[in-house]
């Protein structure tokens, strides 16, 4: 299992660089463009939630982003020490046919669940919150660039 890890402050100003980082590791792991897009978008939503909800806008919280990968799988792990929450209480936002009925928000978790093959939250009062998101890699289009 290969790993790459960065630690950054819970400031939206750091988000683009964090996504660049995920993209670089995805490319290296031989993920397709679609798989890379999915990993980036899931990371974006997860980081934004940590910044806005877990750290409630505080800019000095610590976020640890770890990518782990092997031939067929790419794993993104996010760790923070902000507020825990109950993900099972967050429902898929209802589909609205008319603009007036659209509720603002609630899409982030839906995107993470839809784009990744598996997502898992762990809340440890002492150790902090850990989100693990797993994407299976097809290695369909591009040849894997993983050393073996």
């Amino acid at each position: 299992m290969n790993t790459a890890e960065i630690v950054f402050a819970s400031d939206l100003a750091n988000l683009s660089a964090a996504l660049d980082f995920v993209r670089a590791q995805c490319r290296f792991a031989g993920a397709s463009d679609d798989e890379t897009f999915a990993c980036e978008l899931a990371t974006d939503e997860a980081c934004t939630n940590i910044i806005e909800h877990a750290y409630q806008g505080r800019k000095d919280g610590e976020i640890r982003l770890t990518c782990l990968w092997a031939d067929e799988v790419f794993i993104i792990r996010l760790h923070d020490r902000g507020q825990p929450f109950d993900p099972t209480a967050v429902a898929v936002p209802p589909r609205a046919a008319r603009l007036e009925d659209v509720e603002i928000g609630g899409l982030g978790l839906h995107f993470m669940r839809s784009l990744m093959d598996e997502i898992r939250f762990e809340f440890d009062p002492a150790g902090g919150n850990t989100l693990t998101m797993v994407k299976r890699l097809s290695h369909g289009a591009a040849a894997p660039r993983e050393p073996r």
Partner: protein
């Protein structure tokens, strides 16, 4: 890699806003400012040229919904979406919000519809 770029062109019957590059959640606020500027000028008929958008997140969709609601108030306008790349369209589809948008294959068709 390509950072977010925005250009605004005033046409006869609407305003054409072209977005290019990556609109991650930290960049959605920049798009929001463009909509706020247009609203403060009383311009509510908007066409968004999405042809060069490489990435969006739910934050962009949130901005879009918020300002589309404002634009449509009193029947004064709307935000039309034109020339979405396939991967961007996928995100709209995943959101379930596609039915509430007016979507056009080309910028010409969108502008021509005002």
């Amino acid at each position: 890699m390509a950072d977010l770029n925005m250009s605004v062109t005033e046409l006869k019957r609407c305003v054409l806003v072209k977005l290019s590059g990556r609109i991650d959640s930290s960049k959605a606020g920049e798009v929001e400012r463009v909509f706020q500027d247009l609203e403060s000028q009383g311009r509510f008929r908007i066409v968004l040229d999405m042809s060069e958008v490489e990435y969006i997140s739910s934050a962009f969709l949130r901005v879009l919904i918020t300002h589309m609601k404002k634009a449509k108030r009193f029947n004064r306008g709307n935000i039309y979406l034109a020339a979405m790349p396939p991967r961007i369209r996928d995100v709209f589809e995943l959101s379930g919000l596609l039915p509430v948008f007016k979507v056009y294959d080309t910028v010409v068709e969108a502008v021509g519809d005002w």
